[in-house]
Symmetry: D2
Subunit: 383 residues, 4 copies
């Protein structure tokens, strides 16, 4: 069971090494200013817990507009691409807001103890969702902070960030798995999971052979040296358009002369570390070049069920779609996952920035196929 204050404090700890100015900027529409993350995760508790169970009025009447992300049922909000225009509230004011809501949440917890069993259960569930939501934003903070700092000419590091680019095993070992009817997804008795991980259901798989390790920087460099980014035959049509329009020639954060930007600053690329910050298009093109393929999410889950968080998220060949029998969360939280089920691809495995207590091996992460600012790598299957 997640501890409220421990998780809330961890969020601030992640940002401890930032300058005030770093909290504010938004280099691209899909990046949120760290300040916004701090406020949004707090607004989630205020709205879903305090307001719903105690009918409180907003701490500040402008905050629901500013800190609502995409919940249409909860009213209008700042367009995502305009979050970086907001200098107010200040970082300090957002921290005070956090303290206020944390205090109220503690008071609420003690009041709820005197309510009925059902209310207690619903409260506990909502708080748990809020804490997982906060943890999800902890990972987003690492992603967004990295992106923001990478835009600064001095390429600063983030003190206390997880170490990137660790060497990894590089054998070509493969795991052979027998086909047939397998089950994937989260069982009802397995505790907390997101709505998109259910219902647990049967899938039919063929025999397959999945790599034990991820693709390394060395291997990806061979792809580049072989003209990987210049030969359309490896690419999906949309991917090829993306390569040409965005002039893509290497994974994100590869700077020059075998250097790479990490949360530890600019460092030499480690050939034996897994390649990171690739898009689905790049992962798919690499696989085709290598005469392999990406695993489906079912193949991935059957192979790694029950294993802990890995170093990098891994693109699967599966589109992000509802499982059979999918039921979205109730009420406002119904918009949490379900409405994003078009145009995106599933990633599996967790990454170095994912809080360990947040991860499950049934976890379905998802991004558009051109995105690559998350910590994403490549695991292959034999064709």
């Amino acid at each position: 069971m997640l501890d409220y204050q421990t998780i809330r404090d961890r969020t601030l700890e992640i940002c401890a090494g930032l300058e005030t100015e770093d909290f504010v900027v938004q280099p691209h529409e899909f990046i949120s200013p760290p300040k916004w993350h701090l406020g949004h995760a707090t607004w989630f508790f205020e709205t879903m817990c305090l307001q719903k169970f105690f009918q409180t009025t907003p701490y500040n009447p402008t905050f629901p507009f500013i800190f609502n992300s995409y919940y249409e049922a909860l009213g209008e909000h700042v367009p995502q691409g305009r979050r970086g225009v907001l200098s107010r509230p200040t970082v300090r004011e957002v921290q005070v807001y956090r303290q206020h809501v944390d205090r109220r949440m503690r008071e609420a917890a003690s009041i709820i103890k005197d309510r009925g069993k059902e209310t207690q259960a619903r409260w506990a569930e909502t708080v748990e969702l809020g804490l997982h939501h906060e943890q999800q934003h902890q990972e987003l903070l690492f992603m967004d902070i990295k992106h923001i700092l990478s835009h600064q000419r001095e390429l600063p590091s983030l003190p206390g960030a997880p170490l990137e680019g660790k060497e990894a095993p590089t054998s070509n070992q493969k795991i052979d798995i027998r086909g047939g009817v397998h089950s994937i997804g989260c069982r009802d008795d397995e505790g907390f999971c997101y709505d998109n991980e259910r219902a647990r259901h049967e899938v039919y798989l063929r025999d397959y052979s999945i790599c034990a390790n991820l693709v390394t920087n060395r291997e990806f460099h061979e792809f580049i040296d072989d003209g990987g980014y210049k030969r359309p035959e490896f690419w999906l049509a949309d991917g090829w358009e993306w390569v040409k329009a965005s002039q893509i020639r290497a994974p994100l954060y590869w700077t020059h002369d075998a250097k790479i930007y990490t949360l530890q600053g600019e460092v030499t690329i480690s050939p034996n570390a897994p390649v990171c910050h690739v898009s689905y298009f790049e992962a798919d093109a690499f696989a085709r070049w290598k005469k392999c393929r990406l695993p489906s999410e079912a193949e991935w889950e059957v192979a790694f069920r029950g294993q802990p968080r890995q170093d990098l998220w891994q693109w699967t060949a599966s589109a992000y779609l509802p499982y059979p029998g999918f039921q979205p969360f109730a009420e406002a939280a119904q918009e949490y996952n379900g409405k994003f089920m078009s145009g995106q691809m599933v990633l599996r495995g967790g990454c170095l920035a994912t809080p360990g207590s947040h991860y499950r091996s049934t976890y379905r992460n998802f991004f558009y196929p051109s995105m690559r600012w998350m910590f994403s790598g490549i695991r292959l299957c034999a064709q």
Copy 2:
């Protein structure tokens, strides 16, 4: 077995009612001028058959650039959105080009008879692919001509076009199908199919219940009257952005006052005819409003295996992805289907504009989720 000249002549027959000017214009990037279709389908035979088997040089040195659609391996080509800039070659010149290639194809066919078995087989396969390709463009011609004519202030009809908007059965009857391991896709011994329909493979399905009939204009009108286009709770996030940005308020070609533009001109909407020209986003939103869901393509195929072409294509809930064991066509034709396997959704069932001899119940059509100028309708499953 498809007859070469019959199919080639049919293409011209479809365009017989057009004015010369109608052959040239391109109202949107995704619409091709009819003249371009006539040239492209011919270039396909010239390139894949005459050039490959007989090393002929191009009939006109500018045509490969003009009439190549998207085959990167076959050289540069006019950007898709600039096809409507080309007044030359003229319609008449394209018709002469068609006659030239048809003549050469007949000569080639008689020469091939004296070649080895294997060459004969490869030739026959390639011609068959070219004819299916031509038929695919026959359907595209109906789609594109309709779109072009809909932009003319007088709303002209297309003489000889298939009749749209026929009344259909409107019962709520459902077909119940038992779950378990089913097979879908085209068997190797079933004759011609596209590469994307193979390999035939097992899927696991739950019990499901699929509607015998399509959603009607009357039902879709109820959705609109209930605020369907104004209530975000029914929509995928990308769909809701599309509705707002494109100010969508009805299916494509709905004009005003219960009127609709068809290939027969502007007519009154028939309440009992199936709703047509909806996007995936609209189909999905309608299903959610109706507390139903769209079928997966496997569910669709198991239910309608072996049945003939239907009146409208039907959106499925399945992303367009490779089947297990997918092998693209050989050589230049490898770009035919495989490289489009991202970001699109599968439609099943054929439509009134699909040549009957072109259709198979394993046929996988695919479009981006916002597209709706094809003849697309909605079939539901119980949730």
Copy 3:
């Protein structure tokens, strides 16, 4: 005095060498399909003469929407960039429309003879405006046809078009003009002119020295060879942005290897012919490189007052703004010129495509500074 039918017939003569398909396409928003010009000039007579003097109803109810260019007071119209979407009315139908209006104009002319003096005068004025308008579109036709044909891979010529690229005198001779108070603009007693050429007014000029000849292709080539398109110091800031964004490296229609596209097809560049199809930005940059400057329109007019049409329009350093005492034409024609008086620069001198009877030495042509599909050249002043 301009003869109605002579001028109307000349318009058709210009288009006589086109294929039907050439009449329809629109490669860029600022290009109009020739068919549209034919219809628009006719609509001008129908609306300004027949409808206004005889209250006729439109020949075809869709034509006012299709053929109105930009007259807001005359109702809605097709957006300029969508003219190329209209395959209907056909070229033939537009020709019939022209014949119909011409017949009605003849009938009207004989009826008007029995009306009062004032009505006769107003009629004559309106017809005269319509004919100058038609002549203006004759020049636009040459410009737009050239642009359309330049987009065809075979680079066709236009039979009967004026000969481009004639050698010209290349001396460095300058005309010295004494400063002081001069008058420019059209006098009230000089017969027809556009509203923007009045009121005739005084301007104070310094002594200046203006080149007798235009800048040649040879000189412009020296500018290019000296890095003209790569050195920001020669360029206005907006011009430099334009060069970078549009990757400009030579005048429009320069193809490769000292070739140039003309209305006579692709030909070798003649070094002694005046450079053509340059933008204001290019003319201004060239002048700065040459340590010269462009003349103001007053300097131009004082130097060339009363002289006939020249080979190329010449960019002046003057913004297109109202003369002191400017009064727009009455009624609907008030939108003819006045509302375009922002953001554009004046060109003077006429060109090979300007009908001789249309031109006056007080004529003010105007285009945005990045435009260059008109027949535009460079005349310099000493600094």
Copy 4:
């Protein structure tokens, strides 16, 4: 003579009421973060004075890239629209940079005293340009800070800002001025001015009559109430496109219910105060509605020669073009003014945010015709 440290300190004083976060954001491409202004004006001294006269190396090697605005001759720089992406250097670091350069400038001033007369003169001139440049950015700071704060939901005020919206005389009095040859521009013996104010030269003016006072909010409200923003007959074609595309319905910062955002926060509109924050398009449309016209810059200067700064800049009918005999500043400063002489219109008169010692009645301000975030108002001439 301007005092270096007084002017440098004033810049910081303007920003004293800002939060750190306010220094960083960039709501639109044409707005610069206050932090950037602080650094840029300092870079100007470092580059034009210290580096040029003493060959110093940059204080920080990344600063020339970050703080160069648009001087192509001085190397590459951050694209204008990406200034708001830079969280580094921090506000504090920029302040330290300012102190460093100020110290060096003092040291340099005392060293220069021992140099030759000519060097001393060139130094003094360059410092003077730098100080006027700094003052120009003081006005830009008020403009940009106002724009930034207007995007904050709480609509904060800026402590210490000049008072906006003061009531003004509202008589219809006009000043009649006799035409003939007048002189405008700055004489060579009048001390510092920008290069664009020279050469002083003769212009010929007709008799004219110019309003003594500016157009008020009351008058502008009448324009709105008379359908001013809905009637194309008042608008230039480009202006009408702008009104439609940007959905303009009132001057900038008009909020609702007769409220207006000012540097003092949101206040009630004062009917007798001059209307502020209008574009050229709006000023021109208002003039046409009022059956008046805007003055040319020559008419303006002849009328108000020698008078001090006014409350609001006033749009003139003159395009921003070089005066006869214009010579840009020498060396790097040649890019200061001259390269912006296309597409912009001249404003005259100074405004409440213009430092008094910065202003001259020959001062030529310039903006694109759709811009309106400067303090711009309307002065009319009788037609």
